[in-house]
């Protein structure tokens, strides 16, 4: 027999009450952990897609739009820029790599981009099957494209105008799949990658597309002769951080193009979204405090209700410290079990929930919650519990055994 065993018997003697305390605490811990995990996953998703891109150069307009279009491949591009001018910029000594991209077409909703073979290196993406693009009208496809459209090496398809699937207009020339990329969990998984020439070539013979809607017109090459070749944007990574100081300013001030810092723009975007996450996180903390209060009330009640028992223990020779230990053990056992259940809930239920609701837009969306975050939440809970226990044991410290025992009748 020892203090711990008595604590354990106390816990066991009120199974329903204990279960309720554990359950309410576990639920709020799960909510908190789940929120944190979604936030982390979301942030990771965005930052992951940056790859090694430090700077995006494109036509003037909204920098966020430029970044969304060229980096996350979500929005429409801001316009086109001259390939000749871009080539000049690429020679800047601060620039390590400069990858041009150009687009305007899609195949069943997946964007076809014209670029160089350096593009996939931005994302550390590797070929799973086949080879890189060598000639016009050859494409390498991302993992999700291959999976969802059930395309394999040697398959051919006709592309459609625009960036969204509304394909009435299709080109006559067929693309052929020459390579499939390994999954990366990045945006490249959802892209069809060809070379710049393919895009130029497709739009060369299509003066009739001139009368297209405004934005698709922008996306297309209007003057396809060699000198005035255009691209959508240039993805730049710097040799060293000094590039950040000079290159964007030079471009914004001395050319009719704009330079946008994707990290900065996406951080801004994330901040807007973060507001929502913050609110939910606060709600989760609020619930946690309520759960902490539940634990506090149950411990305090236990100390009050068992005042006779505790006084009796003192007559048996138990010290104040031993009684405090008893309450602390009970509090921590409940918390520990609740935390374990909460963590289990997040690990099992959250992925199932996402699967059930069909939120699987990028394969494995859920990012493992970093150990540090778990630790941080555990610490917050720990502090709440310490505070609850400290207040709950106060009656023990102030306990007047004689008074309690005299009141037994």
């Amino acid at each position: 027999m020892n203090v711990w065993k008595i604590s354990w018997q106390n816990i066991k003697s009120k199974p329903l009450y204990t279960a309720l305390s554990v359950f309410s605490l576990a639920l709020s811990i799960a909510l908190l952990l789940g929120m944190q995990q979604l936030k982390t996953s979301f942030k990771h998703q965005i930052e992951n897609n940056l790859g090694t891109i430090d700077l995006v150069i494109g036509a003037k307009g909204s920098p966020l739009q430029l970044v969304l279009a060229s980096v996350l491949h979500l929005d429409n591009p801001t316009g086109n820029i001259s390939y000749k001018e871009v080539k000049k910029i690429s020679k800047n000594p601060f620039i390590k790599t400069a990858v041009p991209i150009s687009y305007g077409d899609n195949y069943k909703g997946f964007r076809i981009i014209g670029t160089t073979n350096a593009f996939r290196k931005l994302y550390n993406s590797e070929l799973e099957k086949g080879r890189d693009v060598n000639a016009s009208l050859e494409v390498v496809i991302g993992h999700i494209v291959a999976k969802e459209l059930k395309l394999t090496i040697g398959d051919t398809f006709l592309s459609a105008h625009g960036l969204v699937e509304a394909a009435i207009e299709t080109h006559d020339e067929k693309f052929v799949v020459v390579g499939i990329l390994k999954p990366t969990q990045k945006v490249i998984d959802r892209l069809i990658i060809s070379n710049l020439e393919s895009i130029w070539h497709l739009h060369e013979d299509e003066s009739h597309t001139e009368d297209h809607s405004e934005h698709s017109e922008e996306n297309h090459k209007k003057h396809p002769n060699e000198k005035d070749k255009e691209i959508t944007s240039l993805l730049v990574s710097f040799k060293n951080p000094r590039g950040f100081l000079t290159v964007p300013r030079t471009i914004n001030e001395q050319t009719n193009m704009q330079a946008a810092l994707p990290k900065y723009e996406l951080d801004k975007l994330y901040e807007y979204m973060g507001l929502g996450f913050k609110t939910i996180t606060w709600i989760a903390y609020l619930i946690l405090i309520i759960a902490g209060l539940t634990i506090f009330i149950s411990l305090y009640k236990m100390v009050k209700e068992r005042a006779f028992d505790l006084a009796l223990l003192r007559t048996y020779g138990a010290t104040r410290f031993q009684l405090i230990k008893m309450v602390v053990y009970e509090g921590f056992t409940i918390t520990f079990v609740a935390f374990a259940i909460g963590l289990l809930l997040v690990k099992i239920v959250l992925p199932l929930l996402l699967k059930f609701t069909g939120i699987t837009f990028n394969g494995n969306v859920l990012k493992e919650l970093p150990f540090q975050d778990i630790l941080q939440i555990a610490l917050v809970i720990f502090i709440i519990i310490i505070v609850s226990i400290t207040i709950a044991i106060y009656p023990i410290v102030k306990m007047k055994i004689s008074e309690i025992l005299s009141n037994e009748k």
Binding site: N10, Y316, T319, L405, K409
Partner: protein
């Protein structure tokens, strides 16, 4: 061996000062303390147990002046040398009969210095508990929780709790107040028998005059 010298006590909010008679009990001597309610019987008993500190005077048990001990030493001293029986409060609710007695022994014993001794002590303790339960006719409810016991069984358990650790002094606060005549007799006899077996002093405080005839020494407050 128990002795008190000039004990006085007053409650903080109260001007009235209690003056308690001096007591000298030799080994195996028992004492009945009678008195009306509110006369300070329980207060006196709590002073004897070291649960209340007297305003002045000393309580000496087996040569130790218990009021000179520090708080934690007094807790230990009480655990080892004093057994208490209460009118209504028998033992810990969440523990079984057997575990209650084990807990009682755990809190009364001194920290074990030798871990190998532990298992040996455990067996000794267990057989001791079994023997005592046998003696008090509680063997059948060894693993029962308190709420499954009858009034008589509870009071016998209360006696078991007060003697399992071989105390020097057994202090009983109205042990028979809620019992019928027959159970009253049984409880007093058991208490006296246990006190004798343990070579301990038994002090009973009560307003129950039924038990007067069982004691040679008695004082009235």
């Amino acid at each position: 061996m128990l002795q008190t010298e000039n004990i006085t006590f007053h409650y903080k909010e109260d001007k009235h000062t209690f003056l308690f008679p001096n007591i000298v009990l030799k080994a195996q001597e028992n004492l009945l303390i009678l008195g009306k309610s509110g006369i300070g019987k329980t207060t006196f008993l709590h002073i004897l147990a070291g649960l209340l500190a007297p305003a002045s005077g000393n309580v000496i048990i087996s040569g130790t002046d218990i009021n000179s001990l520090s708080n934690s030493k007094l807790d230990k001293f009480r655990g080892q040398n004093i057994g208490m029986v209460f009118q209504k409060k028998y033992a810990i609710q969440s523990l079984s009969v057997f575990n209650n007695l084990k807990a009682r022994l755990f809190f009364s014993k001194q920290p074990l210095s030798n871990p190998t001794q532990d298992t040996k002590e455990k067996t000794i303790a267990n057989s001791k508990i079994v023997a005592l339960l046998e003696e008090l006719d509680l063997s059948d409810c060894k693993h029962k929780k308190l709420n499954k016991l009858s009034e008589g069984q509870l009071q016998r358990l209360s006696i078991a709790m007060s003697v399992i650790h071989n105390p020097q002094v057994i202090l009983a606060d109205e042990p028979t107040a809620s019992l019928d005549d027959e159970n009253c007799k049984i409880v007093i006899k058991l208490l006296k028998k246990q006190a004798k077996q343990n070579n301990a002093n038994l002090i009973v405080i009560t307003h129950d005059s039924r038990i007067k005839s069982h004691f040679q020494n008695s004082i009235t407050l």
